[in-house]
């Protein structure tokens, strides 16, 4: 019964009576460790809250206009007026880093929303009905998987144009396959559980079972994936910026790093690229760490390679 790809033990604290029997006696120290979410998790969350708040409040924060040239000299080193220094056009890098986060975080957030909105139902339906439906959907998922992510992104963006919506959508598409695969695996193991059988005996329709019984059990372990996925999406946007295919209007962390990484700028003023890199790194690391902790906490693990 447990040979499925994913075992989600302890999806809910109260919902799972099996927690009380056999497993408990075998829990060793390492697992007890996993049950504490830890201090680092809250530090990561704290950093993310800070970054998101700054992005939201950028218009009312007392910072210089990010597009105002001459907020300092050209390529000034970090100082009291310009905390992160200034770029080639004398624009304040601190303010630009805050404003740039708006595009990066938007892509990170909406890409994941899209990936979950499409991949989640796909995976649940495939895992719930099994048989021909599963075969068909699994092949679609596999094809998406088989396409190298950036190659796909490049194709789509060059064909549809470099707007914010297209970038979100494209990065989101890359996320569909992994989300669907995990959702499918969790669904398969959840569908075998007693409460699903109970619901079926009570006469629930398939739709109701999927929404009321399966979905909540899939959502919680998937939350961990959302953090990891958001980190990947933010990095993905940066990668697109390096290929010249990020959003055309406005600027993001990725685009700022590209601008700062020109040889001459790098030579005279490494801070122009290093500050956005640092902030992006901390954000991505926070997301990864929080996601990792959540995954351990909910004990989502992949067993075997799955697919097909």
């Amino acid at each position: 019964m447990r040979l499925n790809l994913i075992t989600t033990r302890r999806a809910f604290r109260g919902l799972q009576p099996s927690d009380a029997d056999s497993d408990v006696s075998q829990i060793d120290n390492e697992q007890r460790e996993k049950r504490k979410i830890g201090f680092g998790f809250w530090v990561s969350i704290g950093w993310m809250v800070l970054v998101v708040m700054a992005a939201f409040l950028a218009p009312i924060l007392p910072i210089t206009d990010p597009n105002q040239t001459g907020a300092g000299g050209r390529l000034d080193a970090p100082n009291w007026d310009n905390w992160f220094g200034t770029d080639t056009n004398g624009r304040d890098m601190f303010s630009r880093t805050i404003w740039g986060s708006r595009v990066s975080l938007t892509v990170g957030f909406f890409a994941i929303v899209f990936g979950f909105a499409v991949g989640g139902p796909l995976g649940i339906v495939a895992g719930f009905f099994k048989g021909a439906t599963d075969k068909f959907l699994s092949i679609i998922i596999f094809i998406l998987f088989a396409f190298p992510g950036l190659v796909l992104a490049l194709l789509i963006i060059s064909l549809l144009g470099q707007t914010l919506a297209v970038v979100c959508f494209t990065v989101g598409i890359i996320g569909v396959a992994p989300v669907a695969r995990l959702a499918r695996a969790i669904t398969i193991s959840t569908a075998e559980r007693e409460f699903v059988a109970a619901a079926r005996i009570l006469g629930s329709t398939n739709r109701r079972i999927m929404i009321r019984e399966i979905l909540p059990n899939v959502t919680i372990p998937m939350g961990a994936l959302a953090f990891l996925g958001m980190a990947l999406a933010i990095v993905g946007e940066g990668g697109l910026a390096f290929l010249g295919l990020s959003v055309e209007e406005g600027f993001s962390w990725g685009k700022m790093i590209v601008l700062g990484s020109a040889s001459r700028t790098l030579q005279k003023a490494p801070w122009v690229s290093m500050f956005p890199i640092g902030v992006m790194f901390l954000t991505v690391m926070s997301l990864n760490y929080a996601g990792d902790r959540l995954r351990d906490f909910f004990d989502v693990r992949e067993v075997g390679i799955g697919g097909g």
Binding site: L3, I139, F142, I143, A146, F147, P148, G149, L150, V151, L154, L155, I156, S158, L159, L160, A231, V235, G238, G239, F242, L243, G244, G254, I257, G260, S261, S263, L266, Q267, P270, S273, M274, I277, M280, F281, V284, M285, N288, Y289, G304, I305, G308
Partner: protein, 334 residues
């Protein structure tokens, strides 16, 4: 063997689907003729040739002569046929080793790819060697003395490297080694093996460090698990040296997930070095692909998509087979 045949069929089906997807997308969303005949491509030439209207483009200058050029181009690239027919014709050519002619410089796509592919493969090999050379000894050492200083610091820094986007790492390495200390050349040099190696060290490192971090984490976990096994205790009781136990008895059964991920990441690197090739200006497959996409060079883009996704899928396939050889349960499941 039935399992292998089934996987081969699946692999071929996926390659066909992937290329068909790219083919359809490029032909329906882009304008395949734009590069050949310029803006005339968008003119309703049937109407012009029939003499009904003089110029529909509104840009002036499209006359019957231009339209004949367009017609000829449509004929030449078979654009008058329905899409599935064109796909089948294209796929038929591909099977015979003909990927078409690049729109931009009229060179055969196979020649262009043939020129570029060794650089990408070289980069991939260097990166994987670096990654293994860093990860395997570090993991052995970390697992040998788990939870001690070395293990702790290696685990923390591996987490950092996983979170550092490869372009950020590339920029940092470029700044330190090219701009600041000027140890490595800023341009890609390819005169002899030495200069090629020298130019590949930094991009190789950029790809290798995050990979090494992933390998390290996997191998360390697996080694620690294996070290708990009874046979290790048995070996210790027999009085074998720690070194012998580690390399002869523990390492081999722990390599399993490392091999899997190694295979997958190698597949990804074939076309996945797009960004790194861009930063270090390496004329490999990734950079060619970016240029081809930006210029709408359809035959070249399609050729590259075919090559990149096929090798990715093929390596996935080899990993799967390898997996089922080691663990026969896999083939029974599917």
């Amino acid at each position: 063997m039935g399992f292998v045949l089934k996987r081969i069929a699946q692999m071929v089906a996926v390659i066909i689907a992937a290329t068909f997807l790219a083919f359809t997308a490029m032909n329906s969303l882009g304008d395949p003729l734009f590069n050949v005949v310029g803006f005339h491509a968008s003119v309703d030439c049937d109407a012009v040739l029939a003499g009904e209207i003089e110029d529909v483009s509104g840009q002036g200058g499209t006359d019957v002569g231009d339209c004949e050029v367009v017609e000829a181009a449509r004929e030449k690239y078979y654009l008058n046929d329905p899409l599935p027919v064109r796909y089948v014709r294209w796929a038929g050519d591909v099977v015979q080793g003909d990927l078409g002619i690049s729109f931009k410089n009229s060179m055969p796509v196979t020649t262009i790819i043939g020129n570029r592919i060794p650089k990408s493969i070289f980069l991939m090999v260097v990166a994987e060697i670096f990654a293994l050379v860093i990860a395997v000894p570090a993991a052995i050492r970390a697992a040998y003395k788990a939870n001690r200083v070395f293990d702790k610091s290696a685990t923390v820094s591996s987490f950092g490297f996983i979170s550092l986007p490869n372009f950020a790492l590339g920029v940092i390495l470029f700044y330190l080694f090219v701009v600041k200390w000027q140890i490595f050349p800023s341009r890609y040099e390819d005169d002899d093996l030495f200069s090629r190696l020298r130019s590949t060290v930094l991009p190789g490192m950029t790809l290798a460090l995050p990979l090494a971090a992933t390998y390290f984490r996997l191998l360390r976990t697996d080694l620690i698990t294996t070290l708990q096994e009874d046979f290790v205790l048995m070996a210790k009781a027999k009085g074998l040296s720690d070194r012998w136990i580690m390399f002869r008895h523990v390492l081999r059964p722990s390599l399993f997930s490392l091999v899997t991920v190694f295979g997958l990441s190698t597949g990804g690197l074939i076309g996945g070095a797009l960004v790194v090739e861009q930063i270090f200006v390496i004329p490999g497959l990734g950079r060619t692909f970016v240029e081809a996409v930006i210029r709408d060079d359809f035959p070249l883009v399609l050729g590259l998509v075919t090559i990149i996704s096929s090798s990715f899928i093929a390596i996935n396939f080899i990993v799967d087979i390898f997996y089922s050889v080691i663990d026969p349960r896999v083939s029974r499941e599917t």
